[in-house]
């Protein structure tokens, strides 16, 4: 009986966040089938450890598990992606180096944005997805990604800069062709 109640309260607390789980998994794995497998696995894990969940925020709790499951999956299937160096402060674009002409001045189209975001290293992609698509606070993002608050902000800053640069390049390439 107790277990059936556990299932009912689990479904009530966690199942409504399926879209959020799938969205994050899809952006991390960049593939329908893998995202589905990872999400299913994450739900089973979440169910096992549901006893440790104390009802604060089902979405953040689930997304933490989804992210961990994704990373385990990537270690097995895409380990080179995880070893992209992030300490690229050296060749980080300084704002003063940015040619004003090259700044993004118009909205980029969906396909272009999707591609540019997919091409970002996973460490930037995940904070951007959680912030822009999931609209989470820095605090929640820090909890999910296990990063200090300050790092969340600097990852977002660097991720956005890279994304902006990629989009600007795409747009210029399009204008020229």
């Amino acid at each position: 009986m107790q277990k059936q109640n556990k299932l009912a309260s689990f479904e009530e607390a966690v199942l409504p966040h399926l879209d959020a789980a799938y969205n994050l998994a899809h952006w991390l794995t960049r593939n329908d089938t893998d995202a589905e497998d990872v999400v299913q696995e994450a739900y089973l894990r979440a169910f096992k450890f549901f006893g440790g969940f104390h009802g604060a925020d089902g979405r953040s709790w689930l997304l933490t598990i989804v992210r961990n499951t994704c990373y385990t999956w990537m270690q097995h299937n895409r380990s080179p992606e995880l070893s992209v160096p992030l300490d690229d402060e050296l060749h980080e674009i300084e704002s003063k180096d940015l040619n004003p002409e090259a700044l993004l001045v118009q909205r980029a189209d969906t396909l272009m944005v999707r591609r540019a975001l997919e091409e970002l290293p996973v460490a930037f992609r995940e904070v951007l997805v959680l912030r822009e698509l999931e609209e989470m606070s820095y605090r929640d993002i820090a909890g999910i990604t296990d990063l200090p608050l300050g790092t969340v902000m600097s990852r977002l800053a660097r991720g956005r800069k890279r994304l902006q640069l990629a989009l600007t390049n795409h747009m210029h390439a399009e204008v020229l062709t």
Binding site: K3, Q40, Y43, F47, K48, T72, L133, Y138, M153
Partner: protein
């Protein structure tokens, strides 16, 4: 405020994550610095490009059904186990009676099949093993061949400290560890490899201290060996042949 600092704080400002004082500082800086003001404007444009519902992946309906049915299955298997144990505990009087009947049946029908605790556990071990190999990324939660990484990983995740050894020099390299749910509790799973065969070694504290000899079983084409050593239960399972799996079990036992 330096431009370098402002370039980062602009993002906190854009996200509404700065306190009032710092927000004012950023605004002040943007009044004075055209480059930072332009960064802010272009970041607003970037944000509006990202505010687009078609960038959000919505879960397909079939995934929801798939998850619900796998959760049902998971919950059901635990309910039946629990109900089984409960009956034995409470119905003390009929227990003796049932035992008596059991003995009679046992004598009348030699070789009759009765599901013992081990039998159920073996079934669980097989399903866990199969599942660990089927699901992508399920095999290990901590991926490391270093026993000094894997062992501390279990700290705080299980209420015991499993012994973790790498037997790479005996050609059973350690691949990593993960948590598994078995026998109604969280257990430690260590993953080893021999050639292309994976070995899952499940470890958890036994109900009674002490040791017991090893038992070898075969289920669905898998070899299973279990034993108890210094108050810990060990179950090793693999599609590896029984001779080599026994060799592995020896190594683990000697490693104590």
């Amino acid at each position: 405020m330096s431009c370098q600092r402002a370039q980062e704080l602009i993002h906190g400002y854009l996200d509404g994550e700065l306190d009032l004082a710092r927000s004012l500082d950023v605004e002040q800086h943007m009044h004075e610095c055209e480059i930072c003001a332009r960064t802010y404007r272009s970041q607003t444009t970037l944000r509006s490009s990202l505010k687009n519902d078609s960038l959000y992946y919505t879960a397909p309906e079939k995934l929801k059904k798939r998850i619900q049915s796998s959760l049902r299955k998971e919950a059901r298997s635990k309910v039946s186990q629990r109900a089984f144990g409960w009956r034995w505990l409470t119905v003390g009087a009929s227990l003796a009676f049932m035992l008596l009947i059991g003995v009679v049946v046992w004598r009348l029908v030699p070789g009759s099949i009765r599901p013992s605790g081990d039998e159920l556990l073996a079934q669980e071990v097989v399903s866990d093993h199969v599942r660990s190999l089927q699901m992508p990324g399920h095999l290990t939660d901590v991926l490391s061949t270093d026993q000094h990484t894997v062992k501390p990983w279990f700290d705080g995740k299980v209420d015991f400290a499993p012994l973790v050894k790498n037997f790479a020099s005996q050609e059973f390299p350690l691949l990593g560890g993960r948590l598994e749910y078995l026998n109604n509790r969280t257990v430690a799973a260590l993953i080893y490899q021999r050639r292309l065969h994976y070995i899952n070694l499940f470890i958890w504290p036994a109900e009674q201290a002490g040791s017991s000899g090893e038992v070898t079983i075969q289920r669905q084409g898998y070899n299973l060996i279990h034993w108890t050593d210094s108050g810990m239960n060990y179950w090793a399972i693999s599609d590896l042949n029984s001779v080599e799996l026994r060799e592995f079990a020896r190594l683990v036992q000697q490693g104590q």
